[in-house]
Amino acid sequence: MSEDRTNFGFLDRCDDRVAHLARQAEHYVHSDPDSCLFKLRLMIETMAKRLVSMSAPDMADADLSSMLGVLERLGTLPRRQADGMHAIRRDGNAAVHGNSTPTPTAMRRLKDAHRLSGWYARNIKRGSKVEPGSFVPPPAPFEQSKGESKLNREIDELEDRIEGQRRRTREALMLFREDEDTDGVRKRYRIELKALDMIAAAAGEPVIDAEFVALVMAMDLEALFEHPSFGSDSREARRNAEAQLAEVKAELERNEHLYLEERANLVQEMRLFKRRQLRGET
């Protein structure tokens, strides 16, 4: 790829600001991977703002995480795109907080950003032909030595592990597998539920007026919360449940910190290697 060649030219007709940020990220990917991540994070924030302004304008001033959450809930942001945006958000934030970004990580996120841009452009310019083409990694300004290539491969392997673990965590949390025909399965359950409902009705169970039931339940709940035999238990239950939830969250955090530490060690190793190279010791 020549120096003025970009992977993000197709964005010019769609969103100037996003296109500009993408080009800057591309420019920095080898020379300053941290800056590349800053730009990419800003890029997806800009994308999210625009998408939110179209579907949930009252959320346009929310933070990025909340905006992505809203877009997911509204069904605007599919699971795969959400994963890509969250990965950029997370690595961008880590870079802002002083965790050094290795080039292979920045390159991965740049590639994610290219894929996301294609999806974004198709959403913004509905009906228009969008051709992002294949992602061509910007070439390194200097040829890598064997030692650098080896370290970069190690970083790539670590990134593979991180992405694999994050994907597994996410998949475990979801009620349905990503490769599952979710609509089909839920349709089947719905048919079964309706059949069971009819059987219940035929057996003399009362027909359910859901709105009435919901109202009664809400009123009951208000009363129950205040009731001495339930109220105090509920507060205790909440404390216990929060402690258990905190335990799960702490483990997720520990995993993320371990990844960041391992990544930082590899970045440090790369720095030392480059210093030795400059001193002619390798």
């Binding site: 933070d63 992505l68 039931v213 919901a214 909440r238 483990e251």
Partner: protein, 176 residues
């Protein structure tokens, strides 16, 4: 995930543990995970909405409260495990589950129902069927509902960030 096979005790309002049947109350396993996913999936099918955050809240509940591990979640959702099971299978399994397990599942399922702040007739019917299969009386059901409301409020705020395996408090999430 360290949750595997931990006895997490009773999070919810304590209920006398009687009616012990075949499923272990202390050792989360694939049976429990499969039962949970069947019951929870049916509840999301009942009102026709399925948000990522709602799914994630259900996943967090499974891991934090039921003590099901990531691996067990994956295994329970495998096609060969869950695809051939019907909701009648779910009711049958629940009727054989220990009381404590059944109440936790009922609470989680009601948490899913409360997540969108409305009740659909089929959601009410599904809750009623689950309660009947366990022979749960109205006091216990109400207790589950109260706990479910508590959990819905609590997990709803966490689910969006947990979906990507991070928390609000880590440095990545500090400025969101």
């Amino acid at each position: 995930m360290s949750a595997k096979h931990q006895d997490r005790g009773l999070v919810m309002n304590e209920v006398p543990c009687e009616n012990q049947r075949t499923m272990s109350a202390t050792a989360p396993d694939i049976e429990l995970a499969t039962l949970w996913f069947l019951a929870a999936r049916a509840m999301t099918a009942a009102d026709g909405t399925l948000g990522t955050a709602r799914q994630a809240a259900a996943g967090l509940y499974a891991q934090a409260i039921l003590g099901i591990s990531e691996e067990e979640c994956e295994q329970a959702k495998a096609e060969e495990v869950i695809s051939s099971l019907t909701l009648l299978d779910c009711l049958g399994r629940l009727s054989k589950a220990p009381r404590e397990v059944g109440e936790k599942i009922m609470t989680g399922v009601m948490m899913i129902a409360y997540a969108n702040r409305s009740m659909h007739p089929l959601e009410v019917r599904w809750a009623s069927m689950l309660a009947s299969s366990m022979k749960m009386d109205s006091d216990d059901f109400q207790r589950c509902c109260v706990n479910a409301r508590v959990m819905a409020g609590m997990l709803g705020t966490h689910a969006a960030s947990e979906v990507t395996g991070e928390s609000d408090s880590d440095e990545a999430g500090a400025d969101s």
